[in-house]
Subunit: 150 residues, 2 copies
DNA sequence: TATTGAGTTCACAAAATACTGAACTAAGTA
DNA sequence: TACTTAGTTCAGTATTTTGTGAACTCAATA
């Protein structure tokens, strides 16, 4: 019988919105939906089957998405004694690691801009100055992160 | 004859890296390369033809990419008297507008998390508390931006 | 008026992505 | 040993995304 999770209308909407947002960060639809479900559902630990049925994905699609989410540390799982299933959850307590990844992207962008600046022709002074100003803002932002979290 | 721009080896590499980074932010390859070229090349204003030939894109691909970059304010163009061509450039001086767009995304994510928190079951206290902590960090980050730039 | 230059549009081709079903595995259960 | 549970793998399909060429527009020469 169905193990589909019961969701309120509001929850369904939040899941849809969350998933779209995740897709905008380059996450594939199926993965985005799984993450969304695990963030919004009352139960924070869901089985393969609950995820599959609640989201209406195929078994293989669910498996592939879960495998990828595990490999990229977006989800984890636990087991329960006397129960063969795995229960997947979002390791919210590791949010700083996720933040770190975003800031690593920011840092890379900063550094690339610095390299670009370093080799730009001196003739385009205004362009270079503004690029520098922008890069300095990125640095400041990065520093806020580094001071507060890292 | 060819209007291909001369680029140093280093410039070519920077353009490639820049383009990959832009693609990671969901920009299509052709657009990513155009932006990269306009950021790295010594000349900051390039014609349609220079862009097309330097990057080896088709005419139509170039046209479509430029149209989209213009529509999303990632590039602008100017004309020169007695010259029918348009000269495209990155409006670096508007970098704050681009930043604003990124932070609008951050804000939306924050707000969605707040909505999720508001409706979450009280039973998952630990989960909720950590989600709240994370959302508060995002708020702090947003505030840095708002205070410094907005 | 014909030609050239500077693009634009569009229908389609190619490539990359995402998803599906069917067959398979491997551990536990009857 | 046969069956069930809980997935995994894979080949192929469907969908989406990008890029292309050919034909077209429209203004400015010649």
């Amino acid at each position: 019988m169905s193990e589909k999770i019961k969701l309120t209308k509001e929850q369904v909407e939040l899941i849809e919105q969350y998933a779209v947002m995740m897709e905008q960060t380059n996450l594939q639809p199926a993965m985005a939906k799984i993450l969304a479900l695990l963030n919004v559902a009352d139960e924070t630990e869901l089985s393969f089957n609950q995820i599959q049925e609640t989201l209406g994905l195929s078994k293989s699609g669910t498996s592939q998405a879960i495998t990828h989410l595990l490999a990229t540390d977006r989800i984890e799982y636990k087991t329960k004694l006397g129960d063969r299933k795995r229960y997947f959850y979002v390791p919210v307590h590791k949010w700083k690691d996720i933040a770190a990844r975003h800031f690593a992207g920011l840092e890379a962008y900063m550094k690339l801009n610095q390299k670009i600046l370093a080799q730009r022709s001196k003739k385009t002074k205004e362009f270079n100055d503004i690029l520098k100003e922008m890069t300095e803002f990125l640095s400041a932002l990065y520093k806020v992160y580094a001071d507060r979290i890292k």
